[in-house]
């Protein structure tokens, strides 16, 4: 036997007297299956009986000792064939031989000579088929178990309905069932006279709960009368056993169900007496079914030990004595012995009241609901819907959203109450595209927007979110529009309706815009800060890569002195003044930023000579602020190639700035490559720029030469 593996291979038994034939089959299947071989029918049967856990048998017909038909016959006799598929492999072509194999239970027949792929396919298919069948069997078993559980629940519910009408404690049914079970189990041990199976015992116990269902037809006044019943009343009361039986008999579809049959016996005859003086039929001795006999005894015992409107409870011992001495009913002597034997167990079991309190509570409340609820199921559904609607409206009101639903087929727009109030329209609007008030509120094109959504939405992507400015209630505000299309089950699906809402996000939106602004601007001067500038410039460089840009970076000379001598407030004024001067001398599209304490950046696009532009900016920034002689040191870098990065140009402008500083400030320099070496030693650099004093009086032509010096 092969050892177990993971995952386990299915095991196949090949039965053929020719070693070569076995070997051909084994070779075809060995990759996927565990293959074992038997050289004749006897060996095969021996292996099968050892329980080799085979999934399939491949069986030859003509073999010595035991041929294929003998093997099939033996497998049928031991019912092995029911779970184990057999495929015949034979050179037999006579149809009667094939017919015989099938009638003995073979699953399939493969004719020799065979095709390797067909053998393989049929083997795999057969194994799969049986695996499925086993799984289905498992499912059915599971369902049967569930069915039994649910019928037990139904029995409990029914019997409790009766009990509540009876005004009994609710324990009576449970007690009768417990006593019945004890007595039955004892009975089958004591005698073989009543051969009851485990299943029958369980059925009788379950059915015992239904013994009084006939009482449902008895008038409340008689059923719950506190005093003794009159003769007429008692006669009515006595009809409950027959009525219960008739109720069960009326279940024509289930009359043959073992549970119903058993409940019928119990209902009808649980008031018969062993001496024949009971009702309704006056049956005597074992003419009364044993189920009814036992339930009758259990019923009496529990009635004696329970409190009733007309009597106090007797102790278990008293009850036992009354029954055994025949003071209360006449019973089968063997049942009395069972009661005697089981008395202690029964007494204790009833006292501890075994189990399932919670499930009993559920049953009780269900029964209660059925008994006392006046409303019908549809009332209940309406109430639930009403409740859901209230809940929905409550939340909708709280969220202050304009919620809507547009039903395509009816061309109907439904609005939430709050939304309708906000828009000043009705909650339901037919043909909303032409509703004047709605168009006034949402703009004449609002319906086109909805149609646009129809064009782009799909069952896979039903949702749409969009932020826009809407003029609702005479005020322009930001709204978030969320829509969701709901599709029909048709093929292809259509849009059945659109649900959605308009959410006022104006305050949030404004706040976010403000925050964004403040994160990219210098609060003092209102110019962009470093990160705002780099973002803005990067955007320009990528959006208009063909244009020519220049970066001008500059510091305020001796700014530290201004702060020290005149104070920080004055320092701030200087910064603001510089910012003012820059803004006055640049265009709206240029980027102006304060990128550090006293460091500024101007980036501008140009397509003429850059030198006059720089000279003008440089000159305009310089000039007295009060007593402070404001000058700057500036470095300029031009974009030299397309696609040059912000960082690269900035770095070059910065190098040129250092050159200006080291040249004694109040000057500007254009970057050139020779500065690269000197940049690390700024002190040595000189001569590529202009001192403020020099350019003060230069005319345009001379300025052009500044760079070439």
């Amino acid at each position: 036997m092969a050892e177990s593996r993971h995952p386990r291979k299915e095991r196949i038994l090949i039965v053929d007297d020719s070693e070569m034939n076995r070997s051909i089959l084994a070779d075809m299947l060995a990759d996927e299956f565990d293959v074992e071989e038997a050289e004749d029918g006897e060996v095969a049967i021996k292996l099968l009986k050892e329980g080799g856990d085979y999934s399939l048998v491949l069986l030859d017909i003509v073999m010595p000792k035991m041929n294929g038909f003998d093997v099939l016959t033996e497998m049928s006799r031991t019912r092995m064939i029911e779970d184990l598929p057999v495929i015949m492999v034979s050179a037999e072509t006579a149809s009667d031989q094939i017919e015989r194999a099938y009638s003995l239970g073979a699953t399939d027949f493969i004719m020799r000579p065979f095709d390797a792929s067909i053998v393989h396919r049929r083997v795999v298919n057969t194994i799969l088929l049986y695996a499925k069948q086993k799984k289905l069997l498992g499912i059915i078993e599971e369902q049967l178990k569930e069915k039994e559980q649910s019928s037990s629940l139904m029995v409990d519910i029914l019997s409790h309905i009766v009990e509540f009408r009876n005004g009994e404690s609710g324990l009576h049914i449970r007690h009768v069932r417990t006593i019945t079970e004890f007595l039955l189990k004892k009975l089958v041990k004591k005698t073989t006279k009543y051969p009851l199976t485990e299943a029958e015992i369980s059925t009788i116990s379950m059915a015992s709960a239904l013994h009084d269902i006939g009482k449902i037809a008895i008038d409340d006044k008689i059923l719950n009368k506190p005093g003794k019943l009159t003769d007429e009343e008692f006669a009515v009361m006595k009809t409950h056993s027959l009525i219960g039986a008739q109720m069960l008999e009326a279940l024509s579809n289930h009359r043959e169900d073992p549970l119903v049959r058993c409940a019928y016996e119990i209902c009808r005859w649980h008031h018969e007496r062993y001496d024949g003086r009971g009702y309704p039929d006056g049956l005597k001795g074992d003419a009364i079914p044993i189920s009814a006999q036992i339930v009758a005894l259990a019923d009496v015992y529990d009635a004696l030990t329970s409190e009733r409107v007309y009597k106090p409870p007797f102790s278990p011992e008293q009850a036992k004595e009354m029954i055994l001495t025949g003071k209360c009913g006449v019973f089968n002597p063997i049942l009395l012995e069972c009661l005697k034997d089981e008395f202690t167990d029964i007494r204790d079991a009833l006292m501890t009241d075994p189990g399932e309190r919670s499930s009993r509570r559920e049953v009780r409340s269900f029964a209660d609901a059925v008994l006392h609820s006046k409303s019908t199921v549809s009332d209940r559904t309406l109430k639930l819907l009403d409740y859901e609607r209230m809940k929905f409206n409550f939340y909708a009101e709280l969220t202050e959203e304009i919620q809507f639903e547009y039903i395509v087929g009816e061309d109907l727009l439904k609005l939430s109450p709050w939304g309708a109030k906000k828009l000043g329209v009705n909650q339901e609007i037919v043909d909303p595209a032409h509703n004047a008030k709605l168009c006034e509120q949402l703009g004449a094109n609002w319906f086109r927007g909805l149609n646009g959504f129809f064009a782009q939405t799909s069952a896979e992507h039903p949702e749409f979110r969009h932020e826009c400015i809407l003029r609702i209630g005479g005020e322009e505000r930001w709204y978030s529009v969320i829509m969701h299309s709901i599709w029909t089950d048709d093929e292809p699906p259509r849009i059945g309706s659109v649900i959605g809402k308009l959410v006022d996000i104006h305050d949030v939106h404004t706040r976010i815009t403000e925050l964004r602004e403040s994160s990219i601007r210098d609060p003092l001067t209102g110019l962009l800060n470093r990160s705002g500038a780099s973002e803005e410039i990067a955007k320009k460089l990528s959006n208009f890569p063909a244009k020519q840009y220049a970066f001008a970076v500059f510091d305020i000379d001796n700014f530290k002195n201004a702060n020290d001598i005149y104070g920080h407030l004055f320092g701030d004024r200087v910064l603001c003044e510089v910012s003012e001067r820059i803004l006055h001398n640049t265009r709206a599209g240029d980027v102006c930023a304060r990128i550090g304490g006293d460091e500024f950046l101007v980036v501008f696009e140009y397509n003429v000579d850059i030198h006059p532009i720089i000279a003008r900016i440089f000159r305009s920034v310089c000039g007295k602020v009060d007593d402070f002689d404001l000058t700057v040191s500036m470095g300029i870098a031009e974009m030299t190639e397309k696609g040059q990065s912000y960082n690269d140009i900035f770095r070059k402008a910065d190098i040129a700035l250092y050159v200006s500083k080291n040249a004694g400030r109040a000057s500007y320099h254009f970057y050139d490559e020779s500065m690269e070496e000197t940049a690390v030693r700024p002190a040595e650099s000189a001569g590529h720029g202009r001192m403020l004093s020099e350019i003060e009086d230069l005319d345009e032509n001379e300025r052009k030469g500044a760079k070439k010096e």
Partner: protein, 120 residues
């Protein structure tokens, strides 16, 4: 001698067997095994001893193997012999035996030739 030449020599249908078994390696393996099978000797001895039932099974096995291997010629003659033995027609069986013998010997001879040609 190739396997195809071997099939031609023994009166078999190589195209048919390779179509069913799908692998030259397998065909070759089973062809070489064929002479080792004891059914033929069992057939001869059973017929000699008058054990027709045993002879039937032996003939049946030969027929089955030949069908699996597409040894058409021997499959045909052994099939006729099988049917004769199935009906219990000993006379007919004995009349058919020489043809089976001839075909069997031709088959094993071809296989021996093929085996000899296989490089060791």
């Amino acid at each position: 001698m190739t396997i195809q030449e071997c099939y031609a020599a023994l009166g078999g249908d190589y195209e048919d067997v390779i179509g069913r078994l799908r692998s030259e390696r397998l065909v070759q393996k089973f062809v070489l095994k064929f002479p080792d099978d004891g059914s033929y000797r069992l057939l001869l001895s059973s017929l000699e001893e008058g054990n027709d039932a045993e002879a039937f099974r032996a003939a049946h096995t030969i027929k089955g193997m030949c069908q699996n291997l597409s040894f058409t010629r021997l499959a045909n003659s052994s099939s006729e012999l099988t049917e004769a033995l199935r009906r219990g027609d000993r006379e007919a069986a004995l009349a058919l035996l020489p043809q089976v013998k001839e075909d069997y010997e031709r088959t094993t001879a071809a296989i021996a030739g093929f085996k000899a040609a296989i490089p060791l």
